[in-house]
């Protein structure tokens, strides 16, 4: 219980930290929004009024507290570019992002775990060298190149032209598969090298432990060693990584993939906000993902405790 409270307090402190950073960058030291809102020919009175509205004339702490209040009551304001409420915008685009990223995220992790397991079991033999070599090469290829090549190969007349190059008109399962396949493949390829390397390292470490020698001496088969002893022991590390990577994949992955494939999810929304200087949207995305990340971190700590009897 004391542990739970300590973790929660730590999480709250981190949330204060990340919101402070985003407040400083996006609001306090951010560019003056006055002329964006009023145009060039504003009168002094108008400027005065808008400054008051935006809080430019108030003290740092009171502005930060207001900012926090707005953030946690989800009063995120409206987009500068089309006036849509930011909360509606996010609520509309989040499911799309999840539907887009989830299959690739799951397949990428499962495939990485499988390959990492194979490589770890055959450590320093030919299969391991092959898998490690391929994943090192995979890690050396920029995301962008993978996405471009897959798009050309699968979505254009120069290639197989099986899937759409852009867009997201999903109504039912076939249309979902039609639009999700190439982004999913891209995500799997992008992450596979990193995943394989991570899982291999974790499994190699676990396989080197002495209790593995014990179960081997008591007759366990490779499947039993891997499936029971190695997997359960590596669970904390794996859970931590998977939970940590959820916000990263949702935001970072979708930023590139959605921009590239023209899919209206969180990533595209953030990209548009960046290019348009749409402060309310960008600020909401930055702060909310950071908060989500802290929440995941706290969850990972808790999961760690559940999975490992030693720290209970």
């Amino acid at each position: 219980m004391a542990f739970l409270l300590r973790k929660l307090a730590h999480g709250l402190l981190l949330i204060l930290g990340v919101t402070l950073v985003s407040f400083l960058l996006m609001v306090y030291f951010g560019p003056d929004q006055t002329y964006n809102l009023l145009g060039k020919n504003a009168t002094a009175a108008q400027i005065q009024e808008i400054h008051q509205q935006l809080g430019y004339d108030r003290a740092f702490t009171s502005r930060y507290i207001d900012y926090l209040h707005d953030l946690f009551t989800l009063q995120l304001g409206a987009s500068n570019s089309n006036g849509e409420k930011v909360i509606d915008l996010l609520w509309r685009s989040l499911p799309i992002t999840l539907a887009l990223m989830l299959p690739g995220f799951i397949i990428g992790n499962l495939l990485g775990a499988g390959l990492g397991m194979l490589a770890a079991w055959h450590r320093n033999r030919r299969l391991d060298r092959l898998i490690s070599g391929v994943s090192a090469t995979g890690m050396s290829i920029s995301f962008l190149i993978i996405v471009i090549v897959l798009q050309v190969l699968l979505c254009t007349p120069q290639g197989l032209n099986l899937f759409p190059a852009r867009g997201w008109q999903v109504t039912d399962l076939p249309s979902y598969l039609y639009y999700v396949t190439v982004p999913t493949l891209s995500l799997v390829f992008i992450t596979l090298g990193y995943n394989t390397r991570f899982f291999r390292a974790v499994f190699v470490e676990e396989l080197g432990r002495e209790h593995i020698r014990t179960v081997r001496a008591f007759g366990a088969s490779p499947a039993q060693i891997m499936g029971r002893h190695v997997l359960k022991n590596s669970l904390p590390a794996v859970l931590t990584r998977v939970l940590f990577s959820i916000p990263l994949v949702i935001v970072t992955g979708s930023l590139v993939l959605e921009t590239f494939f023209g899919i209206p999810g969180i990533g595209k929304v953030s990209f548009d906000a960046t290019t348009n200087g749409d402060q309310p949207v960008l600020q909401a995305v930055v702060a909310l993902t950071a908060v989500l990340f802290v929440v995941m971190q706290t969850l990972a700590d808790l999961a760690y405790r559940l999975a490992d009897p030693r720290v209970a």
Binding site: T137, S142, T156, Q158, T274, T289
Partner: protein, 284 residues
């Protein structure tokens, strides 16, 4: 025993690693190209419009020309310099920042200084990088350094955390404790006995930051947050996203292949470095 192995053993191990040597050779080659661009011997005509739109490869334009009629080879070569500029600047700055903060934090473990550093790294690690970059770019709208600032601000945390852990480990070792016991001032012990023993971490970490910086530049330039005026592989790839749809692949290949080879070279080199420098691994 200090954690650093005798240098000749490290060299022996490095030399035995053929993949690592190939990586090192590749990186050195790129380094030479970057240097000759910086000295003005090559790649100087990257912005010159010297031909028609989308000329194919010829003796005049080795890789053809782009949408604007600029020579793709010149641009690809010049991009090597940009990549090294960004990589070196970000790697050096974040290694310096990370090692100083990590050393202080590890040496003064469980004091307010340590808590502060750990808290700051925790906060910075909690903000997804590309969004952080977007926020920095937003805050420093006028500055061409937004990208580098964002990279350093996020990349130093890993170095700091690693150095902190290593310094804490070394601090309890006998050779450090005995140096303190005979009355050497703590800052001298830290500088002379502890920090040199984190060298293997710093070297590998700096190389990894270099790689991360180059890869990140590509994505940021594609998103319009990267190199502002100039050319880079990222900008070339961003240009090429439209061109490949009309079967113009020169720009894409001229950026993708050099980028791939450089990163591959670096990754092979880093693996070899880590193997050779890791004091925990015996020679067996």
């Amino acid at each position: 025993m200090p954690g650093f192995e005798p240098t000749h053993r490290v060299w022996q191990k490095l030399r035995a690693n053929r993949a690592g040597l190939a990586g090192f050779a590749l990186v050195s080659l790129y380094g030479l190209i970057a240097l000759s661009v910086a000295l003005g011997w090559a790649g100087q005509e990257w912005s010159l419009v010297s031909g028609e739109r989308w000329e194919s490869a010829s003796s005049e334009h080795w890789f053809g020309t782009n949408q604007l009629g600029q020579d793709i080879f010149q641009r690809a070569i010049y991009s090597v310099r940009i990549a090294f500029e960004i990589g070196l600047l970000v790697a050096l700055t974040s290694t310096l920042l990370g090692s100083v903060c990590g050393a202080i934090s590890g040496w003064c473990a469980d004091t307010w200084a340590d808590d502060g550093v750990v808290f700051i790294t925790g906060v910075l690690d909690s903000i997804p990088f590309y969004l952080f970059a977007a926020a920095v770019a937003f805050a420093f709208q006028a500055s061409a350094w937004a990208m580098q600032i964002a990279m350093v601000a996020t990349f130093w945390t890993t170095t700091s955390r690693l150095v902190r852990a290593e310094v804490m480990r070394l601090k309890n070792r006998d050779f450090v404790q005995s140096a303190l016991a005979i009355g050497l001032p703590p800052h001298l012990v830290l500088l002379r006995h502890v920090l040199p023993n984190t060298g293997h971490i710093l070297l590998a970490q700096a190389a990894m930051v270099f790689v991360a910086a180059i890869k990140t530049e590509v994505i940021l330039s594609f998103l319009g947050l990267g190199v502002q005026d100039g050319v880079s592989w990222g900008l070339m790839l961003a240009e090429s996203t439209q061109e490949v749809l009309v079967s113009q692949f020169n720009n894409h290949l001229a950026a993708a292949i050099p980028l791939l080879l450089l990163l591959l070279g670096f990754n092979l080199m880093i693996d070899a470095l880590q193997d050779a420098l890791d004091p925990r691994q015996g020679s067996a």
